[in-house]
């Protein structure tokens, strides 16, 4: 089964005076355990596409199958459940709950997933260990460095063993060295079998992925395996 099957998706924002067509027909397939980077200039629709893939938003038209399930017409609560069980989100600005410690931040998706305290502890501790923060488990976000915060966010994203991990410019707020460390975490997750989609505008970051998609004006401009050039058929 394909991890992801997107067919001719559009997204139009209706503003007071104009219509913004953020996505104008995007078709994309992803196999299990693929590792892709999405690149493109600012305003090209990268975040919009990520939000649709991450079920935070619904497309204006087109079809979207996530692991064979049609999610393009689901209700808010159904989408919340999909996000909870199948999606792991990593944001540029970390988006941790400020008053909660590392452990609670990481176990939160499991609470909304209805897991018992014992199960949550086991899974959350394993996820925190994977990102190398076991010694910071009781720290609050403001007691951590930027790189550490992003590691917490990654642990939270992978704690529910999602079908896809989505990262929208995960290194955008980090210095180059820390960014490289975070990319190492993603590489490890991919090696462990996870499917990863990464938005970035830095070529060095995109190089970690195995496939790069370039967006321009809400359309796919190119889709190529890294290192080997493939002209897009459109």
């Amino acid at each position: 089964m394909k991890a992801l099957d997107i067919r001719n998706i559009t997204k139009t924002y209706h503003m007071a005076s104009e219509e913004v067509r953020a996505l104008r027909g995007v078709t994309l397939e992803l196999e299990q355990n693929e590792y892709i980077a999405i690149m493109g200039p600012s305003g090209s629709g990268k975040s919009t596409l990520m939000n649709v893939i991450g079920c935070l938003d619904t497309p204006s038209s087109g079809e979207y199958f996530l692991e064979g399930v049609d999610v393009s017409k689901m209700s808010d609560d159904q989408l919340a459940e999909i996000r909870n069980r199948k999606i792991g989100f990593v944001f540029q600005t970390f988006n941790l709950i400020p008053r909660s410690d590392v452990f609670h931040n990481v176990e939160l998706p499991l609470i909304y997933g209805g897991l018992s305290g014992a199960d949550r502890r086991k899974l959350a501790e394993a996820a925190i260990e994977k990102v190398g923060l076991s010694d910071r488990i009781t720290h609050k976000p403001n007691e951590l460095s930027g790189g550490q915060r992003q590691r917490v966010a990654i642990a939270r994203a992978l704690v529910n063993n999602p079908s896809i991990i989505l990262a929208d410019e995960p290194t955008g707020n980090l210095d180059t060295a820390t960014g490289e460390e975070i990319m190492q975490v993603f590489n490890d997750l991919h090696a462990a079998g996870n499917t990863i989609i990464l938005v970035t505008h830095e070529t060095e970051i995109a190089q970690h992925a195995h496939r790069t998609i370039r967006l321009r004006d809400g359309m796919i401009e190119s889709d190529e395996k890294n290192g080997v050039l493939h002209p897009t058929l459109s």
């Binding site: 919340a80 996000r83 709950i97 909304y112």
Partner: protein, 411 residues
């Protein structure tokens, strides 16, 4: 079961949010506090009043009819009653003779006199002139000594039976039996003390503990009887026959008064129920006022809490976005804010209960026996939680409906 973890998380967040904004929370609960104090004290006071009133009323007996010149509770035209003839002792005797089925028929007359014992004085004490049968139409018994006996009435003896409050105050709790005291200008000898009956006297109800009972013959001899109207107590054969018996009493009284069928009754029949009903309607007004104060302050308090909840939702917009992004459903966000508003109001309710507890203690010391019942406590807590839910619902729905992307972008 799985929702339980989610609910516990909601409660956790709510408590943390309240803890982080203590001062703000307490301030907004002021309206709730006032509302709860109002509802608890009115309900407690109403309860206390009712109990003490019922207690003293019960001493009189609900199977007794009271034939009087004027009704106890005057409704309608006062002048219609004013021209009525006095009820005389002779009429009382005639009524007793005709009502053979009655358990007892007893005439009484009332006056107010200052009473004295040595240097102690009590002003305007109710003096009841009656017979030995009084004890059969009222449920009270003497605590010490004896009650009036037929010979007291027959020989117009200057003897009296006093209420417990008179023993306390006039005799300073010493033994009053066979002591001579002054009622108005006349000496009477104390032969008995009635048992304590409890009082509703501060609220227009009768205070049987502050009255003196004397033989009706001595009463007429010393205080005069020519222009007095007597009240005739008639004890029904049984509680069930009260209604029929009332018709019998009216019929016999009309014969005694020689009324034509077209003429209206020129006397009144009263029961303790009549008094109870009048009392209940007064009580209804008190409770109404209490309820109005309560609802106004709860409304104002609720508006305050709603405002604070809107602030709380706005402050947490980004957090709501994060929670939604990782899978929180609408109900999780909804319950988070409903918990917050209910707990705020519940805290207000508990503070209100504590204040009401103090007020009740004060009422207890100054006015009458009163205590907050578990039922009132439960009502107060329930009302405060309900206020929390009602005032939190709109902000909570707003939070639950937030679009996750927009919420995440909120600065």
């Amino acid at each position: 079961m799985r929702y339980l973890y989610e609910l516990r998380e909601s409660l956790r967040i709510a408590l943390a949010a309240i803890k982080a904004n203590k001062a703000r929370g307490v301030l907004t609960t002021l309206g709730i506090i006032i509302g709860i104090v109002a509802v608890v004290t009115t309900m407690t006071a109403a309860n206390g009043l009712q109990n003490s009133f019922k207690e003293s009323i019960s001493a009189v007996g609900s199977d007794v009819l009271y034939v009087t010149r004027m009704p106890w509770i005057i409704t309608g035209n006062f002048f219609e009653y004013r021209n009525r003839e006095n009820l005389t002792l002779k009429e009382a005797q005639k009524l007793a003779a005709r009502l053979s089925e009655a358990k007892a028929v007893n005439p009484s007359s009332y006056t107010q006199r200052d009473i004295k014992y040595r240097a102690n004085l009590m002003e305007a004490v109710t003096v009841v002139g009656t017979t030995d049968k009084y004890i059969r139409v009222s449920n009270a018994l003497p605590e010490y000594g004896r009650f009036l006996i037929p010979q007291d009435v027959q020989y117009k003896r200057n003897v009296c039976v006093i209420g417990s409050e008179i023993q306390e105050k006039l005799f300073e709790n010493t033994n009053p039996i066979n002591k001579r005291m002054k009622i108005g200008r006349y000496y009477y000898r104390v032969v008995g003390v009635m048992e304590k009956q409890g009082s509703a006297g501060f609220f227009g109800g009768p205070n049987f503990d502050r009255q003196i009972i004397v033989p009706i013959t001595a009463f007429i001899k010393t205080f005069g009887g020519a222009n007095r109207s007597f009240s005739i107590s008639v004890k029904a054969p049984s509680q069930e026959e009260m209604a029929d018996f009332e018709y019998a009493v009216i019929g016999e009284m009309r014969k005694i008064r020689k009324l034509k069928p077209t003429e209206k009754d020129d006397f009144s029949i009263n029961q303790m129920n009549t008094l109870m009903n009048a009392y209940n309607s007064v009580m209804g007004v008190i409770v109404m006022i209490g309820l109005v104060i309560t609802s106004v302050s709860l409304f104002v308090g609720g508006i305050g809490v709603m405002n604070i909840m809107f602030v709380s939702v706005t402050e947490r917009t980004r957090e709501i976005g994060i929670r939604k992004a990782i899978g929180a459903k609408k109900r999780a966000i909804l319950s988070q804010f409903l918990f917050e508003s209910s707990v705020i109001c519940l805290i207000g309710g508990v503070i209100g209960l504590l204040v009401a507890y103090g007020v009740t203690a004060l009422i207890n010391n100054l006015m009458m026996p009163a205590s907050i019942s578990p039922f009132i406590m439960a009502v107060a807590l329930l009302v405060s939680i309900l206020t929390g839910v009602v005032s939190g619902i709109i902000p909570a729905i707003k939070a639950a409906r937030l679009n996750p992307i927009e919420a995440l972008r909120y600065e």
